[in-house]
Symmetry: C2
């Protein structure tokens, strides 16, 4: 199977594409000469990871009949100072809100995503150091 | 320096985040139980790459006084059949439209992005096979 993304230059430094029927715009910051018509591209690497593992976890928890009040996936990435400015270390924080959430099931869902299902995580792990944290707030 | 993305679960399998002040929604497909409120997450890996190298190339070409009529960055990715379903091979096609475009400058701009500036490319190259193609259409 193939996935294809076709990004089309619009003006100055802005690009546009359609992903699964949804328009996505990318642009450089005004400090870099762009017009901020959309987010900077590199951070989409983190959004890809957070979304991939987030959907896995909420899907697995649903099957386990665990429904948090709220759920956030926070990805913190360290960026190198020199060119190419790239991520070299990631921390994925799974933050759940709710009363009496069963930690063992949360851990199992996160582990299943990270080790079995999340294809983004599987690629990044080959290229950099990755940490995981599970947080419950009440 | 750190980059942080905070993805917040909305409903069913939809997540939302704000990137550089722009709202981004991610969702699963209806076939996977989602509501298609936004694109699937994994493809954002490809958008990150296309945007990163696309902005580099158009910025470098501008300095070289080369302005194409149109410019697309097309990323084709092969996905594994088994879990975790991940990209294992990428091809980046730089497609320029214009008359008398100087191939040597296009090649130089692409090479500078791939070898010096694009931090997304630098990470993916550690994890998978990557190919490049430059196409000129008139």
């Amino acid at each position: 199977m193939k996935h294809i993304v076709d990004l089309s230059w619009q003006q100055n430094m802005a690009f546009e594409t359609e992903m699964d029927g949804h328009k996505v715009t990318i642009d450089a910051s005004p400090e870099s000469g762009g017009d901020d018509l959309g987010p900077r591209p590199k951070k989409f690497m983190l959004t890809a990871l957070a979304g991939c593992t987030g959907i896995d976890v909420i899907m697995i928890l649903k099957k386990m009949k665990v429904v948090p009040e709220s759920f956030n996936v926070i990805v913190e990435a360290d960026v190198t100072e020199e060119h190419p400015k790239k991520y070299y270390q990631l921390k994925v924080v799974y933050q759940f809100k709710g009363k009496d959430l069963p930690m063992d099931k949360l851990e199992k869902a996160v582990k299943l995503s990270e080790e079995k299902y999340c294809g983004v995580s599987a690629v990044y792990r080959k290229a950099m150091d990755m940490k995981t944290e599970i947080r419950i707030i009440e």
